[in-house]
């Protein structure tokens, strides 16, 4: 039964991403980066340590608790692990919103793969407010479906998480100069090199580097 679930998980992920993947759960699920395409980029030198900690904790839970069934990750806890206390203080509204979200549930399929799901309460499906990061305040909107779900692929060095169509988060940012970014999140890849966000549609993907920062 577990093997059948693994096959279905990989087939679904492959179909969702629109590219062929072997039915052997040992290959990444996010589309690979495209060197010829433009990316939004940012740099977070301190992110390497936080990413290493997150990947290590996931490895320990995933590998050494094989029969525990489901793993839980609270979105706000991850935020706390990555951003400074000062940034959290400046974003009390967002923090309260994230505090109210249910945990993300990870269900292991095999050593490398699993399914991810987050049930969203009706009153938590939309957030609108300021986002203060650094010196530039921006306007943030979040739209969530009733259920966010997808599959993940992991190694000790990376976590990739892909989301089914129609069950993805949508995020909008409006800058003070009027620029705006609207993104539907198709896939995430977190490693100690950085964070890569694959967006659906025409919005350029996003890379946040943890090293080689200018």
């Amino acid at each position: 039964m577990q093997g059948r679930a693994a096959v279905w998980g990989i087939v679904l992920v492959s179909v969702m991403l629109g590219h062929a993947a072997p039915v052997a759960a040992q290959v990444p699920i996010c589309a690979p980066p495209s060197p010829s395409e433009p990316y939004y980029t940012a740099c977070a030198p301190g992110g390497r340590i936080a990413a290493a900690r997150m990947l290590f904790d996931l490895t320990v839970d995933h590998i050494f608790k094989p029969d525990s069934g489901q793993l839980l990750r609270r979105p706000v806890d991850v935020l706390r692990a990555i951003v400074s206390d000062e940034t959290l203080e400046k974003n009390a509204g967002l923090r309260a919103y994230l505090d109210g979200l249910a945990p993300l549930t990870l269900t292991k399929i095999d050593t490398a793969t699993g399914l991810a799901e987050l049930t969203v309460a009706d009153d938590a499906r939309r957030f609108s407010g300021p986002l203060a990061v650094g010196e530039t305040p921006v306007s943030l909107t979040i739209q969530l479906p009733p259920k966010i779900s997808g599959g993940y692929w992991r190694t000790p060095g990376v976590l990739q998480m892909a989301f089914w169509e129609g069950q993805r988060a949508k995020v909008g940012l409006t800058m003070p100069d009027g620029r705006s970014i609207d993104a539907e999140i198709e896939c995430l890849a977190v490693s100690t090199d950085g964070l890569r966000i694959v967006t659906a549609g025409a919005t350029p993907d996003v890379i946040v580097r943890f090293e080689d920062c200018p």
Binding site: A25, Q26, V27, P28, C30, P32, P33, P35, P38, Y39, Y40, T41, A42, A44, M54, L55, T59, I63, F64, R73, V78, L79, I82, V83, L98, L104, T111, A112, A116, L131, V133, T136, V138, L140, I142, L144, I148, W153, T155, P156, G157, V158, Q160, M161, A169, V171, L173, M175, I185, L188, A189, V190, S191, D193, G194, L195, I197, P204, V208, D212
Partner: protein
């Protein structure tokens, strides 16, 4: 998890320039674990190779400590073994997970293994030799630049 990561990433874009082409990328490749017998083929179609630092191979290992000796990663092209890297994960942190870097000359090779023949094309067949260690998994990734 994904939401937090997303917000951080997008938030940091606020002061950033418009989207641009990036010189270097990380390509996650395969997981070697008990389900595939710690062996897998990598179909590498984009033609990119490792030529110089900061390009590298990343081998992320989960293994029980203490280690009994080095762990080997073997690269095979066709029927020919082309590379055999002897990995000595640092013992000082005693963590179950270690990230090794196999680098070209001129960079620090975490775990002590280097690329001797350049350019290096990632495609081919890879397998792990535990050499008496209890290795639970390994992940291969390639960091490549134009």
């Amino acid at each position: 998890m994904k939401l937090a990561a997303l917000l951080i990433a997008l938030g940091m874009l606020a002061a950033c320039a418009p989207a641009t082409v990036q010189r270097c990328h990380r390509y996650d490749a395969v997981s070697l674990n008990r389900e595939n017998g710690f062996a897998a083929s990598l179909d590498w179609k984009n033609g990119r190779t490792i030529d110089a630092p900061p390009e590298r191979i990343e081998v992320a290992l989960t293994a029980l400590r203490p280690l009994r000796g080095p762990i080997e990663l073997v690269h095979v092209l066709g029927d020919v073994e082309t590379d055999r890297w002897v990995l000595n994960p640092p013992e000082q942190d005693n963590l179950v997970s270690t990230v090794c870097w196999i680098t070209p000359p001129g960079a620090f090779p975490v775990c002590g293994a280097m690329l001797r023949v350049l350019p290096y094309a990632p495609g081919g067949y890879y397998y792990l030799r535990a050499n008496g260690n209890t290795v639970l998994e390994a992940g291969l990734a390639f960091y490549l630049c134009d």
